[in-house]
Symmetry: C2
Subunit: 578 residues, 2 copies
């Protein structure tokens, strides 16, 4: 859908006005015409590259006017060729005295209008060359390469031609390089959904839901095959195979590679695709030279993407990697600050945390801690589905799964740390980091903090006492609350944690042995967790679903009570620390 | 919709793999972690800027790792904070010995995880500063600015901080500059539609069709008002007013301005919006410093956009405009070729075509030509709706409207040229250029070519004869066919044009006076146009609708016959040229 527009009939003109306002340091409007030349005016003695075609393909054409790329851009209405008059005007304004190379994708309307404009310019004594781009494999056979349409590979061809002109090649030279780049460029695309014109309610064309249309043109021109949806690796394989099938004999393997999104396909999707494309190309002996993944030639909000490969020789590689500075495409001249010259190597060692010395006492406590973490994990596993159901009432239902992932990782990390001789602080720190890392979400980081806080209080050296454990849990719970910014009554795990802590500390300070005190405190935690059913959460996800959760206990409080109860069993079995 | 994915649970990891494969000259993976540092490793002695947050916002975070911007990027799952463990790892790998500044948008999960990581890094002796970005006006009042969320303004704040670090500021300095940039940054956004997670069938949230949700968060967090759709100028006014309402007293008017698209909103829409935003800002005394219009902070394929303004002082302006070289954002170091130094000015005169000398005879013929063009226009106007209906059967229905626009413009241009003393060639060339320019589409350029071709044969000096006119039309028709690449029987205007030309030339060559011959030829053209109803067009638009047009005459052939008939009347009234 198009949401931002005023008069649909004036859409293209409004785009031109907005573009000129945004990038005055790069471009200037040409009086009475539908396009731009470079802000400073044409460079005297330089061959001018003028690109053009229908609107709706930004950054195509206007987005690439600037140093090292185009000298002018001329835009027609949405998906319609600019008129010959407009092409004529932009070329005339862009002309620096050394001739004009016109570049556009191979569409009938563009060929007609650019040719008429070229004849008029020639009649006025301006030397003009025309190179239309024919990269789309799907639109004609290799025998009829000159009949192919121009799609995303236009970008590479234009970039190379712009760099050649900037380097000072003459008109013959720029034309030759551009034609060589075009002959070396092969694209194949896939469409997932059509695009919608401003003011229209329906897309210009449709792709059947659940289908992928291979070779569908960027204005909905027919494709070559329609297939059922396939996962990214299969899609990548199809694109790579099709493009590599036309690899010229002369290609030595170096290639400029583009994965181009057509508008509504997410950047993240393009990278997922590239994760499969890159190794396939490398396996086929292709050396990727400064690849680009992004939106370089769009088609309004069409969903789809394409792979373009331009086979490079030394000359084309030089122009492909040359600097450019335009509104939408800038490259090169990386100016690393001169202040800083030495890079530090990043290795596994960079990430190592020094292991602290530990006492025998602390290592004994670490044994108990490891069993507690293991029991924690077993408890979460047993109640995973129930916790998920509770969380699904007003959340995303992943509490059980997240806790399960975190607790398993914490158990492994605690065991590895304990076997490496870690004291109780080190073992709990390892468990904490793994819990927070693998559980994801707020529960993960909070449980990680809780374990880590207890460990920090107990240390790696001191003998662990009943009072020490109780106060360590208390101190950790207090830190947890500071981090989480939640208050009691907000329907979080804190609503079970603090009744537990108060009961535990009160009993241990009153002389009750830890195991007994913990068991009693776990009962208090369970009652408190049940009581959270009556509460309304203060902080909801996205569109708050807070009120839906009334009548259901908080899953975080419930898991805390279940875990506290289970750990009580571990402590009952543990050797008396005193 | 998400179309490209493999295992939805591994989506984020696949994105990381693809990104690393695409930009190895910019970034390297950090072993066992969910993010990147610069390819060369950290720069010794430089403050490191580490950015992070949930995935799904590319180019946020990873797309801006490089010279002059970020030193590291850490990514969580889609829309979920990275874990503290991941933040810790990336910061440790990115650390160059001069401390780390962490930057992220103000979300609870990010604040928690980055703080835990910071504590751990501090415990290991790495100095860390945290600056979270709070630019979203909609999410809290100005009194509670520190509670606001981070949205697209994060981009400017990160850019400025990255440039400050690259310039060699120490940890205090980078923290100070980043906090100043954040305090100076104000964003306000509007959502049109929600985004869809990989593997999901439904968007994560909805915006009611026909509505605009102002201030809706980039993960669907509640907005402040919902309004009916409004045109771009009204939308721009709303955004500008809201942002300018919080202009600080200290602001001198210079501002970095971003118009950011969230994913599915087209670039063209952003420019249409900017066309209204720029003048409103300028009227309010704002000086736009290197504005950017594009996708800088996305939210998967969410439809929506925002305006961000960062009020600049000399220091912030310097860092905002400083060079940067990253995968998705590059700026500065425009290397104009040293070969070319002088820019040519572009003025109205640049576009002027020299006016040819004309004879009195030719000016007399030009009078007839002007009347013919005027009658052409009146005829098209009379039959505009009918032509549109014929075209709508298998085309886009704009033949009547396009011809009407072109013919009106041609009439005006012919009159202006005639009044300026143009001969028949000059007058028809003016009519031709205007016709092709304003009519748009293929009909426009073909009619333009036809008029121009006749003029070229007649010239601006020679006396015009009956034979001259007939042969000029014939020659022009032949050139038209070469340009259009259509054949007879393809169901185009040629199917009426050639029977007309054949009849005209045959009769005139046989001695029939031009006016009589033209009238007879027009009858032939009308019969031929009617006969096109039986034909199937060879070239269709988009998904060919060719067969639907059988039974309907070609609108181009019909308009040609109508125009030929009407011009016959002009010739009958014209003075005998012989």
């Amino acid at each position: 859908m198009t949401h931002v527009y005023d008069d649909p009939a004036a859409f293209k003109d409004d785009v031109l006005v907005g573009f000129a306002a945004a990038y005055p340091t790069y471009v200037q409007r040409v009086p009475g015409s539908s396009g731009f030349v470079r802000a400073g005016g044409p460079l005297e003695g330089k061959v001018s590259l003028v690109l053009g075609g229908g609107s709706g393909h930004y950054p195509s054409y206007s987005g690439t006017v600037g140093t090292g790329f185009a000298d002018g851009a001329v835009l027609g209405d949405l998906f319609a060729s600019p008129s010959a008059e407009q092409v004529y005007r932009i070329c005339k304004a862009a002309h620096g005295g050394a001739g004009v190379v016109m570049g556009f994708g191979n569409y009938a309307g563009d060929r007609l209008n650019f040719k008429v404009a070229a004849d008029r310019l020639e009649a006025e004594g301006i030397d003009v060359r025309i190179v239309w781009v024919t990269d789309d494999i799907a639109s004609a056979s290799l025998d009829e390469q000159e009949k192919r349409r121009g799609i995303a590979g236009t970008f590479t061809v234009y970039k190379v031609a712009g760099a050649a002109a900037e380097a000072g090649l003459d008109l013959d030279g720029v034309e030759r390089v551009m034609a060589k780049a075009n002959a070396a460029t092969y694209s194949f695309g896939v469409a997932f959904d059509g695009c919608t014109m401003p003011g229209a309610d329906e897309p210009l064309f449709h792709v059947e839901p659940g289908q992928m249309d291979f070779g569908l043109g960027i204005h909905g021109e027919p494709g070559i095959t329609s297939d059922a949806w396939m996962p990214a690796p299969a899609l990548a394989a199809r694109l790579v195979e099709t493009v590599l099938a036309e690899r010229p004999e002369s290609a030595d393997g170096r290639a400029a590679v583009l994965v181009n999104g057509l508008g509504a396909t997410k950047y993240e999707e393009l990278f997922v695709l590239f994760a499969s494309i890159a190794p396939l190309l490398e396996q086929a002996g292709v050396t990727l030279v400064q690849p680009e993944v992004g939106e370089l030639v769009t088609s309004l909000d069409m969903a789809g993407c394409s792979l373009s490969v331009t086979w490079l020789d030394d000359e084309l590689e030089g122009y492909w990697t040359a600097p450019a500075d335009t509104p939408a495409y800038r490259r090169g001249a990386a100016t690393t600050s001169e202040r800083f010259t030495r890079h530090l190597e990043v290795t596994e060692e960079t990430l190592e945390t020094p292991v602290a010395e530990s006492s025998e006492d602390s290592r004994a406590a670490a044994e108990v801690a490891r069993r507690a973490v293991a029991v924690l994990s077993a408890t979460v596993e047993e109640h995973k589905d129930e916790l998920g159901r509770l969380d699904a009432i007003a959340g995303d239902g992943d509490h059980g799964i997240g806790m399960s992932r975190g607790a398993k990782a914490a158990t492994e990390a605690a065991d590895a740390s304990g076997e490496a001789g870690g004291g109780v602080q080190t073992v709990l720190a390892a468990a904490s980091a793994a819990f927070g890392d693998k559980a994801g979400g707020t529960s993960g980081i909070l449980w990680g903090l809780l374990l880590d806080g207890v460990g920090q209080q107990l240390g790696d050296v001191d003998r662990v006492t009943d009072e020490g454990v109780a106060h360590a849990v208390q101190s950790s719970a207090t830190r947890l609350q500071e981090f989480s910014k939640a208050s009691l009554g907000d329907k979080t795990m804190l609503d079970a944690l603090f009744p537990f802590v108060d009961a535990l500390v009160g009993a241990v300070d009153g002389g009750t042995p830890l195991a007994q005190a913990w068991r009693d405190a776990a009962v208090a935690a369970t009652e408190a967790a049940d009581a959270t059913a009556a509460l309304v959460p203060k902080i909801g996800r996205a569109r708050p679903l807070a009120e839906r959760s009334v009548g259901t206990p908080d899953p975080g409080a419930v898991s805390l009570a279940l875990i506290a109860t289970a750990i009580g069993g571990v402590l009952a079995d543990a050797p008396d620390p005193s």
